[in-house]
Symmetry: C3
Subunit: 316 residues, 3 copies
Amino acid sequence: MTSSDQPETPRRPRHLISLDALSTAQVVRLLDRADALREEWLARHHKLDLLQGRTVINLFFENSTRTRTSFDLAAKRLGADVINFDIASSSTAKGESLVDTLHTLEAMHCDAFVVRHKENGTAEFLARHVRGTASVINAGDGNNAHPTQGLLDVYTIRRHRPDFSALRVLICGDILHSRVARSDIHALRALGVGTLRVCAPANLLPSQAELPGCEIVEDFDTALAGIDVVIMLRLQKERMEQAFVPSEQAYYARYGLDARRLRLARPDCLVMHPGPINREVEIASAVADGSQSCILEQVSNGVFVRMAVLAELLDS
Amino acid sequence: MTSSDQPETPRRPRHLISLDALSTAQVVRLLDRADALREEWLARHHKLDLLQGRTVINLFFENSTRTRTSFDLAAKRLGADVINFDIASSSTAKGESLVDTLHTLEAMHCDAFVVRHKENGTAEFLARHVRGTASVINAGDGNNAHPTQGLLDVYTIRRHRPDFSALRVLICGDILHSRVARSDIHALRALGVGTLRVCAPANLLPSQAELPGCEIVEDFDTALAGIDVVIMLRLQKERMEQAFVPSEQAYYARYGLDARRLRLARPDCLVMHPGPINREVEIASAVADGSQSCILEQVSNGVFVRMAVLAELLDS
Amino acid sequence: MTSSDQPETPRRPRHLISLDALSTAQVVRLLDRADALREEWLARHHKLDLLQGRTVINLFFENSTRTRTSFDLAAKRLGADVINFDIASSSTAKGESLVDTLHTLEAMHCDAFVVRHKENGTAEFLARHVRGTASVINAGDGNNAHPTQGLLDVYTIRRHRPDFSALRVLICGDILHSRVARSDIHALRALGVGTLRVCAPANLLPSQAELPGCEIVEDFDTALAGIDVVIMLRLQKERMEQAFVPSEQAYYARYGLDARRLRLARPDCLVMHPGPINREVEIASAVADGSQSCILEQVSNGVFVRMAVLAELLDS
C-alpha cells in the first residue's frame, strides 16, 4: 500500500463523516500521519503544540468510555482544549435544537465537533449546518458509520501486514447493526484488500447490496479457512431482548471465536475486536487475551489515528 | 461613551455580583478590555498566558449549556484551569453546606467561583463568606442579576452603535422573572442610554420601582416605534404551567417578534436575545436568523466579555 | 523525625495502595517533597512542567468533592492532563469488567489511576492487573485505607509539631468503619509517634489486633487528657440507619468535640478532621472554626501531598 499512484498531496477533507467519501490517497495520508504522530509521541511523551488554542467539543448522545476518552486524549495531546458535553444536562433539555446548539458553540469559536448519536446521519446533518470553518467528526451514528474505528482497524492491520492486496479478512458477528463493519469494509476496500468475507446469522446480515465486494459465508468454521485477519463484532445485549439471538450460549456455540476455531484460520491470523468485548459471548477469553490478539493495540492505535484525523482536519 | 470624566484608572472590582455595584468607568473598562482580548484572540487564535496557574471553579446549581461553556472557554483561553462542579454528585449531597464547600475549595487555592443558582442572592452570599483573595462571579441568581449577560449585551450594542445617548432600546418579554432584563437595565443606564423601554404582559411586569428609568409600554407594536435595539427575552416553559401565559400561540400573537413587527422599529434595528431561543414562541425563525439578528454575535462576544471579567478580577 | 538512619535515597514506590507498604524513609521523602512543592507553588502560583504529557485518570466509584478535586488540581498543577470518569456513564454500564477498563486505558498510555471504591481491596486488585508501567493510587477503599489522607494528616501535624516522638495523638469516632483512622495509624507509627490513643463507642471499635500500638480509651473526656493532636472522624449518616448510633444528639453528647472538651486536652492541642464535617454531630462549629482547628489547612496541604505522591510515582 503506497501512495505512489497519487503523486500530488491529496485534498485535505473538511469533515470526517464516512470513509466512502475519502479517496485512497486521503486514507493513506491519514494513516501515514498517524504513524508520524505515534513515533513523535512515543519518543517524547510530551504534548504537541499543533492544535494549541483550538477547541474540540465532544458531543456524545450515547455513552462511550473508549471512543470519547480516545478523542479527549488525542485532542489534549495535540494541545487543544476539550469540552465534553453531557447531553442530558445541556440546554437541549430546555428544548434548544441540535442545530442551535451547533451554531452557539461555533459562535464561541469551537473548531471541531466529535459527534456520536444513535440516529443514522446525525454527524452529516450537523456538517451540513456548520456555518463557519468548524469540522464535524463522526464518532458513530446508528448502524451507519464509525470512520475512525475503520481507520484504526486498517492502521493496526497495516502495521502487521502492509500488503493489503494479498490479505484475506473476515468480519464476523452482527453485521446488520454494525457501523464498525460498514466502516471497516470501506477502509479495507480503499486499501485494496484481497479478500473480504463476512459471516453472520442470517437475520443479522444485511442484503448483498449493502456489502459491496464481500463474500458472504454463513458457517463460521468454513468462513475462517485461510483467513489472515478476523474482526469480531460486539453482540449488543439488546439483540437478545429483541429476539435476534436465542441466547448467549447458542450464539457463542455458532459464532464465538474460541481457540479451536482460531486454528481454522492461518497460523498467524490477527484477532481484532472494537471493544468492549463480551467474554464467552462473541470471543473466548483465551483468544481475546492470547498472543494473536491485537485488541489492546487497536485501542492504543485509536488515539494516534484520532490525533491524525484532528491534525489533518484542523491544522491550517 | 468615553471615560473622559474619569481620568483615573477605576478601582478593579473584587467580585462581580451585580452591575449596579459598578461605576460607569468600571463598566467601560471591562468593555475596553473585552475589545483588546477579542482582537488578540482573533489575531492569534492562541491561548493567552494571563491566568496560567489560576483555577476557576464553575459552580452551576442550574443547568446551562451556553453560560457554563462560555466561562469554561474564557478561563481556558486565558490559560487557567477549570473545574466544573456537577452539584448533584458533589459532597453537598453528603450534607456539607455551601459555605463549607466554598472554604474547602478556597483552601485548595482556587481563585474564582462562577456561580449560578436559582435562589436570589447566592453569589452575594458566597462573596460575603470568602475568606481569602478569591473572586465570586455571578453567572445568574434567580430573577436578580446576570451581570456578564448585561455586559455582553451592551458590548454587542456598542460595537454597532457606540453612541448610547442617542439610542432607543426596548426589552420585551417576561421582565418579572428575568435576571437578564435587570442586568441589561443596569448596564444600559450605566452607559447613559437615551431611551429605555420595556414591554411585557401585565402579569409579567414588575412594579415601576423595580424598573428605574424605564418607560413601560404594554402593546408591543406601539413599543417598537422608533426603536434602535430590541432585546427579546426567553419565555420559560414553566410560565405556562404556572398559568402566567395562556398558550404559546397566544403569547406569540401578542409578544412574538416576527418580520411584520420588526418593520415597526427603525430600519436598522438590532435584534438581540440571550438564548436559547424558543422559535415561534417569542421570536420568529425568520427574525432570529435574519440579517438584523445579533444573537450569535452575542454568544461570540460573551466569551470575550467573560475573558475580560476574569482578567480584571484575577490578573494581579 | 529525620531520615538519617536511612542515608540512601529510598526506593520510589510504584503504586500507593496502603501506607503499611511504605518504609519510614519513603514516608519522610514524600513529606519532604510535599514541602518543596508547596514552597514552589506558593512562590510562583504557576503550573509546574513535571508531568507534562502525562495522563491521570480519576476513577471514582464513590462521590467525593474534596478528594477528587484535590487530585485533579494536584495533577493539573504538575502539568498533567486529567480525565475524570463518571462511572455510571462509562462502559462498565455495558458490562465491561473493571480489569478490561484498566487495560483499555493503559493501552491509551494513561500513566496513573486514582481509584476510590466502596469495596476493600479495589485499588490493590487493579495494581495487580496493571500490565505496563502505570501507577495505581488508592483514594479510599471501603474501610481499609486512604493513604493520601494519612500522609496529609501527618504532613499537617509535622508542620506544627516536627518531633513525633514526644507527641500524643487521639483519634476519636467511628474507628470501625474508618479508612482514614487506619491510614492515620500507619502514618503516625511510621513517624514514631509517642502515644497513639483511639476512642470510639464500643460497637464502633475494631478488635485490638486491628489497632497496633494503640491505647483504647472509651470515655472521650478521659481520652483527651494530655493530648497534643485530636483527629475527629466523620460520623456517616448510614450508621444511624444501621442503628450503630442511637441519635446524633446522643452521639454528640458522648463523642462530640465541643469547647469544654477541647480544654481537657493540652492548651495548644491541634484539632483535625478529614471533612466534610457534620457540625454539632461529631464537632462543634466553635471548635471546627476555632483557632486550634487545622481542618482547612489539611485541605490545603492535601493538594501538595498529592502533588508529591504523583511526582514520586510518575516522575521518571
